[in-house]
């Protein structure tokens, strides 16, 4: 199965969840998602998603200067982002349950 296509549908939720506990900068978020097992997630996809969620008001952002290198743009979740994440969670659980049940049935039939 083409998991990159599946990933596209849940990337918003995944990115929101990645910054739900701790603020992070772009590559930071990529690293967390990969650590969580989403190996195929694209860097640029994550960066674009962060910008979009920020533009939609689900994230806050701030710049942290760095002594050793270029500054870092950190993203953090806000109330709207949390509400969005909750909604994503519910939808995903419903969806995942439905598809799981369906596939399980298919397995038996096969």
């Amino acid at each position: 199965m083409d998991t990159t296509q599946l990933l596209k549908g849940v990337l918003d939720a995944a990115v929101l969840a990645a910054v739900a506990d701790e603020d992070g900068y772009g590559y930071d978020v990529v690293r967390r998602l990969r650590a969580a097992g989403l190996d195929e997630v694209g860097d640029a996809s994550v960066y674009g998603t962060l910008r979009r969620l920020y533009a939609h008001g689900a994230l806050t952002t701030y710049v942290v200067p760095s002594d050793a290198g270029p500054h870092r743009k950190y993203y953090g979740i806000n109330a709207q982002g949390r509400a969005m994440l909750d909604l994503h969670r519910k939808e995903w659980q419903t969806f995942a349950g439905t598809v799981s049940a369906l596939l399980r049935t298919g397995e038996v039939a096969a």
């Binding site: 590559y27 990529v30 996809s45 960066y47 998603t49 979009r52 760095s66 270029p70 870092r72 743009k73």
Partner: protein, 449 residues
Amino acid sequence: MSTTTPAGPPAGLAFYEHVRAYADQVRAHLSDLRPDLVEDLADGLEADLAEAVVDAPGALPRGGDAAGGALLDLAALFGPPGAYADELRAAAGLPPRPVAGTARPRIGLRGRLLVLGGILGSGWRSLWAPLTSTPQWARLREFLGALAPVWWVVRGWVVATVLLWVFGGYAVAVLPPDLSARLLVAAAVVVSVQWGRGRWLPRPWLRRGARYVSVAAAVLAVPLVWTATSGPAGYVAWDEGYQQGFQAGTGAVGGQPVSYVGTGEDGGVDGVWVDGVQVSNLFVYDADGRPVRDVQVFDDRGRPVRTVDVDGAYQPWAVPEVEGSWYFQPALSTDGRERWNVYPLRAVAEEDADHATDDGRPVPLTGTTAQTMPWPFLQAPTAVPPSRDPSATVPDGAHGEPEGTPEGGATDEPPAGGPTGTPGPAGESPAGTVLPRTPSPTPVVEAVG
């Protein structure tokens, strides 16, 4: 923001140059966006890239020569910069890069029209979707698709008919009257069928042109077919005669060029026609075959017979056997009215014509007079004996006053050279002998009035 050394890379400045070059290429692929959007999207890209490189196992050559010239292939790690930029903007919910390149999109009028057409088209399609999504509709389409060859033939006929109509002056008919026009119709049908089969369209612009032609033909097909097939009975036959006459009149067929005058609005043709050729002038010979001048001609309804109608009086005519163009002139009755049914008509050469009259009709310049046109024969065949039958004379009041006849005056006395009058000159030829046409004009005898 991106001028300091990278965070913790072991390979030094050369490494960072690679990263920045890659980031710049990504930005270049975003250059069609607003600058603030590009900044928003690519801000901190170098730092992210650098860190990703450091993280990637085996991507960074570690060792002595790394700082110098080791090629750091970021494209192998992140993909081509263009694809990276596309992924970035797609995830950010921004429109994809225009295909043409990195220039700012210029939509222009054509683009706007295309967009508008697309919107209207999709709206139109969705409007009919309940109908067009049914299996019956699919069957109808299939059925109509089988009729496509019929349309190809009709399309060829429409194009040929329009061409003949516009450039050849032909009336709309199922089949044009003469062979060359029929050949054109046949050729157009062949081309149309070949187009329909996808042949004979070697160039894209031809294909596009064929599409425009098809649309135009589709629009014109119904009125043209209607016109060609729904005329009254006899319309076609009359039409053919008219067309032949017109063709002869324009000099396309016959040797007697006669200027084309025009048709009445209701489809009738003004003027006098013989064998499909319009008559410009009439020449009358008496029973002995001698020319008769200044004859008034009426038809059986008492209407004056005019070869030159109102429009024709304003147009130059070509006359057999004489050069140039001529404006025919009416005779004048005693009360000063113009009489166009007195023959032979005289005419004034185009260069001697004056347009000074109130209504703009050409008249002879001061000092010139209208000339008699050459007679076709000096003497006509004399097969007909002079009638002795009293019934041949017009009974008084048989038809009342002819239309347009002035009160008193011209009709009261026979015109000079009438049936009982003196014959014209040139009566020496033996009876039945037809002399060749001669350009020598008969001296003008005083017209009526």
